[in-house]
C-alpha cells in the first residue's frame, strides 16, 4: 500500500475531523482522488478511525436502492466510490435524490475522480450545492511522460517503420553513389533525421555533425541552420537541454539572417521544448506562442500542430490537465488531418496522461495502448517507452501492479537502450514497488 502523500496530510486531517463532527447527521462530504489505489489508502485510514461501510455504485438505480435499503446498523460513515466516468443515470440520481443521503442520518463520504467532479458540477448542480465539505487530494499523481513534439528542420512524411528503413537504405546508397557534395549533404540530413525518428540519437548526432561540416564547407547557410536545429533535437532527447539550447539559438540566428520564417518558427518551438525541459515553463509558453504565430502566418499545418501540442504540454506541466486536454485535442485533429502519425501517437499518449491526471485511468490506458501501437508501427522507440511507462502507472493506479511492473520493465529496457533520461524515474518507481 502506498504511503499517504505528504502534501495531503493536512487535507486528510481536515477530512477526518469533518467526519468526526458529522457523526449522527446525514452530512454529504465530497472528496476527489486521482487513483483507485490511493483512494484505497484513504479508505483504510478512515477504517482505522470509524466503522465504515463501502459502497461502489455505477448506475443510478443502484445508488437509489443503496441509499434506501442499505443496512447501516453500527455504521458511522458510508463511503461511496463512484466510477471514473459518470453515466447519465447516475448523474440524474445524484441530482434528484440528494436528500436520501441526508435521510440516512450518518455522514456519507463520496469519492470521485477530478474528471467526474467536472461532470457533477456541470450536470448535477443540486447535488454539488447540497454538499458539506469538499476535499481535493493530490496523492496518487503519476510521473507522466509528456512528450513535446519537435519540429525537425527537414521534415518528411512516412507511412511506417518499413518506409523509414527504405528511406535509410536509399540515402545510404545515394551517400555512397553520389560524388556531389550537395547531394551528400542532403543524404546526411535525411539519414540523421531517420536515425532520430528511430530514436538512435548518438548515430543521428554523428550524421548531423557531418552534414553541418559540409554545409559550412559549401557555405549553405540554410542547411547549416537545419543541421544545428536537428542536433538540438537529439540533445533534448538525450536529456541535455542546456546543450540543445546552444544549438537552437544558433539555428534561430541563421534562420533570421536568411529570412526563413519556417526555420525560425521551428527553432523557436524547439527552443521552447528545451526551456521547458530546463524547468522554465513560462519562457517555453512564450516561445511556443511565437512558433504558433509563425506557423499560422505561413500556413504550415505541421508546425502549427506541433506548437499547439507543445502548448498543451506546458499546461499539463503547470497542473492544468483540463486545459491541456482541450489543446491536445486541437493538435491531434491537425496531426490526423495531415497524416502525421508520429504526432498522432504523441498526442494520444499526452491525452492519456492528461486523463490519468484527472483520475480517468481506464480511458488513459486505452489511449496509451493506441499510442503504443502507433509508436511500434513507425519505429518510434521513445514514443513506445513513454506509452509503456505511462500505462504502467495507470495500471498501478487501477490496482494491477503485476502488469504495471511488466510495462515499467519494458519501458525501462527501451529507455536504457536509447539513453533516455526517463530511465532514472522508472528505476526509482520499480524499486519503490518492490519495497
Amino acid at each position: 500500500m502506498d504511503p499517504l502523500s505528504i502534501e495531503d496530510q493536512d487535507e486528510v486531517d481536515l477530512l477526518l475531523m469533518e467526519i468526526e463532527i458529522s457523526q449522527g447527521r446525514g452530512n454529504l462530504v465530497i472528496c476527489t482522488v486521482k487513483s483507485p489505489s490511493y483512494r484505497e489508502r484513504i479508505v483504510q485510514l478512515l477504517g482505522d478511525r470509524f466503522t465504515t461501510k463501502l459502497l461502489s455504485v455505477k448506475e443510478g438505480d443502484l445508488l437509489i436502492a443503496a441509499l434506501r435499503w442499505t443496512d447501516i446498523e453500527g455504521v458511522e460513515v458510508l463511503i461511496w466510490e463512484l466510477p471514473e466516468r459518470l453515466y447519465t443515470s447516475l448523474i440524474d440520481a445524484l441530482n434528484n435524490f440528494r436528500e436520501l443521503f441526508y435521510d440516512r442520518g450518518i455522514p456519507s463520504l463520496v469519492f470521485l475522480t477530478p474528471s467526474a467532479l467536472d461532470v457533477v458540477i456541470r450536470e448535477a448542480p443540486d447535488f454539488w450545492r447540497y454538499r458539506g465539505g469538499f476535499h481535493e487530494l493530490q496523492g496518487g499523481e503519476g510521473d507522466w511522460a509528456i512528450q513535446a513534439v519537435d519540429t525537425l528542420a527537414t521534415p518528411f512524411s512516412f507511412k511506417d517503420k518499413e518506409d523509414l528503413l527504405r528511406r535509410k537504405r536509399i540515402n545510404s546508397y545515394l551517400l555512397e553513389a553520389s560524388r556531389d557534395r550537395k547531394n551528400a549533404l542532403m543524404a546526411l540530413m535525411d539519414l540523421g533525421s531517420i536515425h532520430y525518428l528511430l530514436s538512435e540519437y548518438a548515430r543521428s548526432i554523428g550524421l548531423f555533425e557531418q552534414a553541418l561540416s559540409i554545409a559550412r564547407e559549401i557555405k549553405d547557410r540554410r542547411a547549416e541552420g537545419a543541421a544545428l536545429g536537428n542536433l538540438g533535437a537529439d540533445y533534448v532527447a538525450l536529456g541535455d537541454p542546456q546543450r540543445a539550447v546552444e544549438f537552437y539559438e544558433q539555428a534561430l540566428l541563421i534562420s533570421r539572417e536568411i529570412m526563413d520564417r519556417r526555420a525560425e518558427g521551428a527553432a523557436l518551438g524547439n527552443l521552447g521544448t528545451a526551456r521547458a525541459a530546463l524547468g522554465d515553463i513560462r519562457q517555453a509558453v512564450e516561445l511556443y506562442e511565437q512558433a504558433l504565430s509563425i506557423a499560422r502566418e505561413i500556413k504550415d499545418r505541421r508546425s502549427e500542430g506541433a506548437a499547439l501540442g507543445n502548448l498543451g504540454t506546458t499546461r499539463a506541466a503547470l497542473g492544468e490537465p483540463r486545459r491541456a486536454l482541450e489543446i491536445f485535442e486541437q493538435a491531434l485533429a491537425i496531426a490526423r488531418d495531415i497524416g502525421d502519425r508520429r504526432s498522432v501517437g504523441a498526442m494520444l499518449a499526452n491525452t492519456g496522461a492528461a486523463y490519468a491526471a484527472l483520475g480517468e485511468h481506464r480511458r488513459a490506458v486505452a489511449l496509451f495502448e493506441r499510442a503504443l501501437a502507433i509508436s511500434r508501427e513507425i519505429g518510434d522507440r521513445r514514443g513506445e517507452a513513454n506509452a509503456l511507462w505511462n500505462m504502467s502507472q495507470s495500471l498501478d493506479a487501477l490496482g494491477d501492479r503485476t502488469r504495471a511492473i511488466d510495462c515499467a520493465r519494458a519501458a525501462l529496457s527501451i529507455y536504457e537502450a536509447i539513453e533516455s533520461p526517463n530511465a532514472e524515474a522508472v528505476r526509482k518507481k520499480l524499486a519503490k514497488w518492490r519495497e
Partner: protein, 418 residues
C-alpha cells in the same frame, strides 16, 4: 518534305507546328539575322559550362519559334554528356486546370520514363518508393494498373492519363501534395541523382508550353507563388515562361532567383518609325522560300503576307489558308487577294470577340507605342499580350509595342468611328 513545287504541296508544307526532326531542321530552319541571334547558343554554353544545376526562364511571344529553338537546343546538346527530357505540358496535363502539384508529378514521371528508356538501372528501393508514393497520392489501385498494363500502357502512362483526364484524381493529388510537395520533390531528386549516376549523364529538363496555360491566374500562381519550388529539382531545367507575366512588377523580383532568363524575340518587319528592317524581312522571306517555291506566289504576295502579320506562326498560317483558296480556285499561284481574304476573315473574328475596353486599349497602344496598364490590377494589357493582339518588339536597343499588324485596318476603322 522537299520544297513545295505546287499549291497542294505548299499547303502541306506550311504548318506552324515547331520543327522537331533533323530533316525538318535541315530543310526548313532559317537562322535568325545577326543582331537577333537566338539565345539558344548562350543557353547551350551555360548548360555545358555550369557546375551548378541551373534553372532558366525562356520566353517569347507565342508563335515566334520557341519550341523549334528548344528542339534545336535538345539536338545540339552532347548525348554522351546529357540526357535531355524535353516535353510539353500540353501533351500530358490539363492546361485549363493546371496546378504546380500536377506539374511536379508529370516532371517526375517524365524523368523516370526518360531514365528508364535511356537504360538507367535505378536502385530498387528508389524505384519502389517512387511508385508506391505515386500510387498513394493518386489512389491508383493495383488492379487498375494491372488491367491497363495488359492493354499495353506503361505504369507511368496510366498515372499521367488519370491525372490529365480525371478531375477526381487531380483533387486527390492536390490534397495529398498540399503538405507533401517536398516529399515528392525529394523523390524526384532521388530519381535524378540515381539516373545521373547510373547513366553517367546530366539531366536537362525542357518544359515547353508553360506559356500556354489557359488561365492567367494559373500561370501567375505557378510562377509567382511557387517559384521557390521550381528551383528545387536537382537538374538543369528550362521553363518556358508566359511573356505577359513579364509585364507584372513581381517579375523583377522572381527572375532574380533563376540563373538566367532568355528571350526569343519576335522579329519586327518595321522599326519604330515604320521603316522596313531589311534583314528581318529577308528572314521571313526565307522561312516561306524554304517551304515553297517562290514562283508559286504572284508579285507582292510575299511582301503583303509578311507586313500584314509580322509574326512567324501567323504568317505561315495565313499563307497556308491563302494557298488553299488559290488551289480551290484552280489557280497555280497565290495572289495578294488570296492573302487579303484570309486576313479579312481573321480580322472579322477579332472584331467580334474584342470588347469595347479592349478596342480602346488597342487604340491607345497604336497611338503611343506603349503597353502599360495604369491600374496594376487591370488585366487588359495582359490579355491582349497573351492573345498576341498586341505585340512587343525590340530592335537596336529600342522597345515598343504595336497592335498586331493584321488588325491595323480594324484599328483605323475604330478610330474613324470614334
Amino acid at each position: 518534305m522537299p520544297r513545295a513545287e505546287n499549291l497542294l504541296e505548299a499547303y502541306n508544307n506550311l504548318y506552324a507546328e515547331p520543327l522537331r526532326e533533323g530533316q525538318e531542321f535541315r530543310e526548313f530552319y532559317v537562322e535568325r539575322p545577326l543582331g537577333a541571334i537566338s539565345p539558344m547558343d548562350e543557353l547551350k554554353d551555360r548548360i555545358e559550362i555550369s557546375n551548378k544545376k541551373e534553372k532558366y526562364l525562356f520566353f517569347g511571344f507565342k508563335g515566334c519559334g520557341k519550341s523549334t529553338e528548344l528542339n534545336r537546343l535538345e539536338a545540339s546538346l552532347d548525348r554522351e554528356r546529357f540526357l535531355v527530357v524535353n516535353y510539353s505540358v500540353k501533351e500530358d496535363l490539363n492546361v485549363s486546370d493546371f496546378d504546380f502539384r500536377d506539374f511536379f508529378v508529370s516532371m517526375a514521371l517524365k524523368i523516370y520514363d526518360a531514365a528508364k528508356k535511356g537504360g538507367a538501372c535505378l536502385h530498387p528501393d528508389i524505384e519502389t518508393d517512387f511508385k508506391e508514393f505515386l500510387k498513394r497520392i493518386t489512389r491508383i489501385q493495383e488492379e487498375e494498373t494491372t488491367s491497363q498494363a495488359s492493354a499495353g500502357l506503361s505504369w507511368s502512362r496510366i498515372v499521367m492519363l488519370k491525372l490529365s483526364r480525371e478531375a477526381k484524381t487531380r483533387e486527390y493529388v492536390r490534397k495529398e501534395l498540399d503538405l507533401k510537395i517536398s516529399d515528392l520533390i525529394q523523390r524526384l531528386n532521388w530519381l535524378i541523382i540515381d539516373s545521373e549516376e547510373t547513366l553517367g549523364k546530366q539531366i536537362v529538363v525542357i518544359v515547353d508550353d508553360l506559356d500556354k496555360l489557359a488561365r492567367g491566374q494559373q500561370s501567375e500562381d505557378f510562377f509567382y507563388k511557387n517559384y521557390q519550388l521550381l528551383l528545387q529539382p536537382n537538374c538543369y531545367v528550362i521553363y518556358t515562361f508566359p511573356i505577359h507575366l513579364a509585364f507584372n512588377p513581381i517579375f523583377e523580383n522572381v527572375k532574380s532567383y533563376f540563373n538566367g532568363f532568355f528571350i526569343l524575340l519576335q522579329l519586327p518587319v518595321k522599326d519604330r518609325r515604320g521603316e522596313i528592317i531589311s534583314e528581318n524581312l529577308q528572314f521571313y522571306r526565307e522561312v516561306i522560300a524554304r517551304r515553297m517555291n517562290i514562283d508559286l506566289l504572284e508579285e507582292g504576295t510575299l511582301q503583303k503576307v509578311i507586313e500584314s502579320t509580322g509574326k512567324l506562326s501567323e504568317m505561315v498560317e495565313v499563307m497556308k489558308e491563302a494557298a488553299l483558296k488559290a488551289f480551290r480556285m484552280e489557280r497555280e499561284r497565290i495572289s495578294p487577294d488570296d492573302v487579303e481574304r484570309s486576313l479579312e476573315k481573321l480580322r472579322m473574328i477579332y472584331d467580334m470577340s474584342l470588347t469595347e475596353a479592349h478596342k480602346e486599349k488597342l487604340i491607345e497602344i497604336h497611338n503611343s507605342g506603349e503597353a502599360r496598364d495604369k491600374d496594376p490590377d487591370s488585366s487588359l494589357i495582359r490579355e491582349l499580350l497573351f492573345s498576341l493582339i498586341a505585340v512587343e518588339y525590340r530592335h537596336q536597343g529600342e522597345r515598343w509595342c504595336v497592335v498586331d499588324p493584321l488588325l491595323l485596318p480594324l484599328v483605323e476603322r475604330w478610330i474613324r468611328s470614334q
